[in-house]
Symmetry: C2
Subunit: 405 residues, 2 copies
């Protein structure tokens, strides 16, 4: 099941980017499992990677390569995470980069490898050897949807979106794709996400844009609290639009980052709408907190509570579970006596206790919807954070109990 998400429409090409996707036999099903994103010369590229200590081999290599050279090729495989594979996993990933570099006529350091799928199995290099020549031949600018489909694992819907903005009378286009459905609580990074724009933008500013957008998008979602070993997000600016370089935090920058945030949040929310076993799309906002970190910690504690998540699945306004989760959040100060909790617009907890005006019927009406907003007003300050999450259903258990079988 999914919640209010459909196949991507009208994906716009980005001048300077070509893509290709093919089936190399890494997935036993025969589905598409290698995606290439070719980047023009002169483009700028920024990336963030998972903070999990067990970083997969391709993450280690991509992080190294992007420091050594400006990337010309992103090579993503699905069906195998190449994580927990030790030194031979690292050597395998280097070999696949060498194969791709030879096909494309670039240096090994200009290739960034990415992998997603089962952890702990060795990457079949021979699949790359056999399939890369023909996949490279098919590179074209309008294959964004094929790329979005090719990086899927337990995803059921491709996640992709385009936005256009006008600056100085000229158009800038942003197109992004992402994948992810389980093992989702990106930490300082994201599940796989690739966003490209034809904007020209200063390299340091581009990195700032990526970090800031990731914080309020991919770093604000959770399915199961499990941070993947392979999370990565790349932002590419080809500089091919007619708009002159954005090189300071002026009005043009604001217009650009607003559109970028929209693209990143759309993709992050798409991951939740297609979360493993999802039946509810849940937005948790913690407002009036002392700090952004406090707000986010409380929101994540509620979002991770299996009791809250099963109540959401049951459409049960069992708000005591929300209150209990808030109360165990690891933040220094919580003033329970002044705290309020809302389900949608319905106040359930006021001044730390059940709102006298609350009725079970009012709570039930909100919980029966497939999109639910929970707001926790801390009454302590002026900071706020929002996270998005899914519920915990029979299908979540089914999908994860049967994943490898």
């Amino acid at each position: 099941m999914t919640v209010n998400i459909s196949e991507p429409e009208k994906l716009l090409p980005i001048d300077g980017i070509r893509l290709a996707a093919g089936a190399a036999g890494i997935k036993k099903s025969g589905a598409t499992d290698i995606v290439l994103i070719e980047i023009c010369e002169g483009a700028r590229c920024s990336a963030v990677f998972t903070q999990n200590r067990f970083r997969a081999a391709p993450v280690l290599i991509s992080e190294k390569h992007i420091k050594q050279a400006s990337p010309r090729l992103l090579m993503i495989n699905s069906g195998n995470a190449n994580a927990g594979t030790g030194e031979s996993g690292y050597r395998n990933a280097v070999k696949t980069c060498e194969l791709a570099a030879a096909q494309l006529g670039c240096s090994v350091e200009e290739v960034l490898p990415f992998s997603t799928g089962v952890i702990g199995e060795h990457l079949p290099v021979e699949c790359f050897l056999n399939a890369l020549p023909s996949i490279v031949q098919s590179l074209a600018s309008d294959y964004w949807l094929s790329a979005a489909k090719g990086i899927m694992t337990t995803d059921t819907v491709a996640k992709a979106v385009s936005r256009q903005i006008e600056i100085d009378g000229e158009v800038i286009t942003i197109t992004g794709i992402a994948k992810g459905s389980g093992m989702i609580k990106p930490n300082m990074a994201t599940m796989l996400g690739y966003i490209a724009t034809d904007a020209a933008i200063d390299h340091a500013l581009l990195s700032d844009c990526l970090k800031s957008s990731v914080e309020s998008s991919f770093n604000s979602i959770t399915v199961d609290g499990d941070t993947s070993t392979n999370d990565s997000c790349v932002l590419i600016a080809t500089g091919r639009s007619a708009v002159s370089e954005i090189n300071k935090r002026d009005e043009r920058y604001e217009v650009f980052i607003k559109a970028l945030n929209e693209v990143m949040q759309f993709l992050a929310q798409a991951i939740i709408r297609d979360a493993e076993g999802v039946t509810k799309f849940v937005e948790i906002t913690v407002s009036s907190a002392e700090s952004y970190n406090d707000a986010k910690t409380v929101a994540y504690t509620v979002a991770h509570s299996p009791l809250v998540k099963t109540a959401l699945f049951a459409s049960d306004p069992n708000w005591g579970r929300i209150l209990a989760a808030v109360g165990r959040a690891e933040v220094d100060n919580i003033n329970v006596a002044s705290l309020s909790i809302f389900l949608g617009d319905v106040c359930i907890v006021k001044n730390g206790g059940r709102d006298p005006a609350y009725t079970e019927e009012a709570g039930q009406t909100v919980m029966s919807q497939d999109e639910i907003a929970i707001t926790i007003d801390m009454a302590q300050g002026d900071q706020q954070a929002t996270v998005w999450t899914s519920d915990l259903s029979y299908d979540y258990v089914k999908i994860n109990a049967e994943y490898r079988s």
Copy 2:
């Protein structure tokens, strides 16, 4: 379902303790819902309470009363947590203490109230008013099993155990009961637990015993990571045994605390064996860590991972999920290159990667058992911690989706 737990046998009375249990109509099913534990004059009593900020009214009152007087009565109701009920909830709890004190002929401060059940509904004081007189009449020393049954909520099996030790040729008896099945990750406290001994023991030492035993028992278990608003644990020493007072950390103290630890761990593990939806009893040990806290944080991170828990349910040796959970644990230093992970006696990860000698068959054999040990060797120091947890099954979702319906 439960894992290797059966009805308690041979519970031994504690001289100085009388118990009673009755049905007061708080539970709609008509099951036993009020339990009294009467404590003799001169006994010593120590208690720990939940660290959840939303502490239930009875927790607030018990913590206050135990500072004011030596408890003569523990009054526990199931079927209603009296949490999230604000000021009227507090007044209701005080009223029930007044009713009990009048029946027993003691002061209000000598009564400690405890509640467990649904959060957010008002405690029906009239049930206490009507039922207490006859329940008080039935107080007797051999009702430990009735008490263990009377405090159950979603528990399917009563949890209780007795131990006897000999000191200086005389016998000391310890008997304890506990309840809990969901919303289980006690923090500095426990789900409801009541342990009594006829030992004479210095009051400060008694408190030390409780804190130390709780840390390695109730504070080392988790079902769902959700710390309850009502967790409480009480240790009573009536001093009626023939053994002279234990008042220093000598050999007699060591004999006593070893037996107490056994009782507390038995009860804590019983909660996991009867956890909501449990099909696997899982012991997670983190060894060779830099600190006890690091070890416990890593163990709890693995124990809370929904992906690890669903793999356990599926008997799937999907060890990549264990590795990913270790890698995201919030401890400062993890040296992945030297870390090892074992499933039972089978080494799965060696020096941070898959052990070349590991076979799927060997992992499968361990995972197919209903009691599974996971050991994570950090190769960093000499500290270790063990936590116990359950798996995440369809029944866990079912039980928690249908709890209030």
